[in-house]
Symmetry: C2
Subunit: 434 residues, 2 copies
């Protein structure tokens, strides 16, 4: 059964604390598809897993991906039900890549969407990624650094990711560095002796106010531009105020304050709204694991086989049939349509063909270009979708043709397989009910 | 500054829905340490990250890990404040491996602790891992399969992990398989023709009751042992009851029911307590991401440098000084002690020396052995720590010697650095306050 199949990858519903999602993971997905090939080891593994003689699995040997991919580029804002990616290929190929594509797109989209909210909450202050120590493995840490950059983070503590992606590596001394010296002052002076540029002193190892006072003394003597202190515990808003006063009194108005320690978009929002004099926000665990929504409810569903539209009617998991497109126009909600429909006036299609016959159609996408798309899309969002507390996502509508096709396929399935109408749920409201 | 340093890796406090943690990640950590070596590429990367000439970083070239590791073996139950791992090595080595060790131990311990609760909730029914599509990358999916097996999962849908770790590969047909046929009956028959052993039919593509009825008809004709149906949506308890009745009426009392779809320990517990006739629970996203607690509040803290005990006094993040041991005896709470203390009567030490001079002291640990440790430790837990709803973790105490050392180091730091006592918080209550 190797006729052409189209699978559509989409998120059924947004996590409750998200007003939008940021498309991410496409580049990893395309890398996988371009390199996909069933080896003889794979055939042996499949045979072992199924308890079958390898000869029976031999037809899969050498199978590669030579299909087409239409996808939303990374960095674009997307909503529930909108395909992020559609794969059209002979059924075995399209089926075998399901898990990897779902894994990469789900994970990276979840992380990018969380990180985006930190950037919005920071109101223009730099945000940096300190998450590697608590992400779900080092690969996940790499992706956290990458999608952080995609949404505008100013740097990452992940040197490997910074090197590979040409990001700014960012970090400070460790508490252990302070502790190996007899006291903080010795530690700060030693650090400044061996680091000739701007330095950032970690001031909360023993007591933050005492630490800032010591740091101010050393920084005044140094007289270097671009220096900072870092607060990593306690009431960050209050301590930032006290640190700012100490630094200003010492004649150091240009020394910046970096805050870290359990920060997420809610904490940043509260600090910004409380006018805490914090210059840089370093986010870690809660962002690198997207702790309040560590996954999105994604699906990779067959929507067409051998030219015939297909759909599931499973309770709560109804899918819409057919290859799709999403049309976006300023000041209106997105329209999910069939892929060959004409765009509504002034609307642009979100999905572009990015791979044909198993090959990328252009060069690798660029993180900077993805970031620009993100900036443009977020700027166009209503405040209700952007806000940190109780955001309200936009609800795409569906085109008349897609709604009609959904109805036809559903009625056909109900009549043929279930003996009449009345089963399953509904999918989405129609764009134009006339 | 390359004198000997000891760092202690521990979890400050348990997530609110955990009554215990399951130690995991040690094997990955030891692999990393055994292979750790700073290459000339690394030196270049560090120099780039720091904006320094590579010559200044050259002293790090060739740096490898030749220290000692004492650790709690994988599979053991652990609690807040108990070191999972202590590294003793020249400071630069011990410091440079911090992020990787924290990352692996935190992630795998979080996942193992979540998976363990599913096994407890299932009350003896097999649990299988279906999480790969939504874990934080493929590496995280591999670890989810591995720690699932560690706590007693019966299989995994991750064929790569099953092959590498010699686990049982487990799965069913996809919804798309059903959809490419004109109807479910054709799909089931075709599947049975090409799969000669036991088959599991996915019955919820269109309507579960209708799907089970069709599956029963095909299964009765097949007459094969070991077959199953899988429910993947809707009210699983109610549908399992209806499916069981249909199968029993068809004379198929041995056909098992597999349930999946958003399951975690709470959902399994409710189904088991509601006496749903479900034979196998397949868990996915919520377990593979440990969705209600996607991280543990882990730390890797300097506790000794050049023979001198060290500690942090940071607000809310106080650490205890000195190299440690944990003593566990039946029917009492654990005692966190200094590493060279004699064990209390009848108590065993949890930390073992597993690496010396950068080499493992024995062969790689065995997943089956880790599983046995887990089974023994969980059996010894009070019901209050094991229960699914509102579990209560045990609270380790600290030995008199450790409490005395903590007081001495704190008072010394306060006197020398902060001008008197009264700063910082407390760490843990003492085992024996006399």
């Amino acid at each position: 059964m190797d006729r052409s199949a189209t699978f559509s990858l989409f998120v059924r519903g947004l996590p409750s604390r998200r007003g939008f999602l940021v498309s991410a993971g496409l580049e990893s997905a395309l890398d996988h598809l371009a390199g996909f090939r069933v080896t003889s080891d794979d055939v042996q593994d499949f045979a072992d897993a199924l308890g079958r003689p390898p000869a029976e699995l031999r037809p899969l040997l050498g199978l590669a991906f030579d299909g087409e991919v239409r996808a939303v580029p990374e960095g674009r804002v997307v909503f529930a039900g909108e395909p992020l990616l559609e794969v059209t290929a002979p059924l075995p190929q399209a089926q075998m890549v399901e898990t990897y594509l779902l894994n990469q797109v789900s994970h990276q989209t979840a992380l990018a969407s969380k990180a985006a909210r930190c950037v919005l909450a920071s109101a223009g202050h730099p945000v940096v990624d300190f998450s590697l120590r608590r992400t779900h493995g080092p690969q996940a840490g790499f992706q956290a650094a990458r999608v952080g950059s995609l949404v505008g983070f100013a740097g990452t503590s992940n040197v490997a990711a910074a090197t590979r992606l040409n990001l700014t590596a960012s970090g400070t001394m460790a508490h252990s560095y302070i502790e190996v010296f007899p006291g903080e002052e010795d530690a700060f002076r030693a650090f400044a002796r061996t680091h000739h540029g701007p330095v950032a002193f970690l001031v909360d190892t023993y007591d933050t106010v005492s630490g800032v006072t010591t740091a101010a003394r050393v920084l005044r003597e140094l007289g270097r531009p671009g220096c900072a202190v870092r607060l990593d515990s306690g009431d960050l808003g209050e301590l930032a105020g006290r640190a700012r006063a100490i630094l200003d009194e010492a004649g150091l108005p240009d020394v910046r304050i970096i805050a870290s320690g359990g920060l997420d978009e809610h904490a940043i929002d509260a600090l910004v709204k409380g006018k805490a004099p914090i210059d840089v926000y370093a986010v870690g665990t809660r962002v690198g694991t997207s702790a309040d929504a560590p996954y999105v409810d994604s699906a990779y569903k067959l929507v067409e086989y051998d030219g015939r539209p297909t759909m599931k009617l499973s309770s709560g998991k109804v899918t819409a049939p057919g290859r799709k497109q999403v049309f976006r126009a300023p000041l209106t909600t997105d329209v999910i349509a069939l892929w060959d429909e004409a765009p509504p006036t002034g609307a642009d299609p979100l999905l572009r063909t990015v791979m044909r016959e198993g090959s990328r159609l252009g060069p690798r996408d660029d993180l900077a270009a993805a970031h620009e798309r993100f900036v443009d899309d977020v700027a166009a969002l209503p405040a209700s979708a952007r806000r940190i507390r109780d955001p309200e996502p936009l609800e795409p509508t569906v085109s008349r043709r897609l709604a009609a096709l959904t109805g036809t396929v559903r009625r056909d399935l109900e009549a043929r397989l279930l003996g009449g109408p009345g089963h399953g749920g509904t999918w989405k409201r129609q764009a134009d009910p006339t």
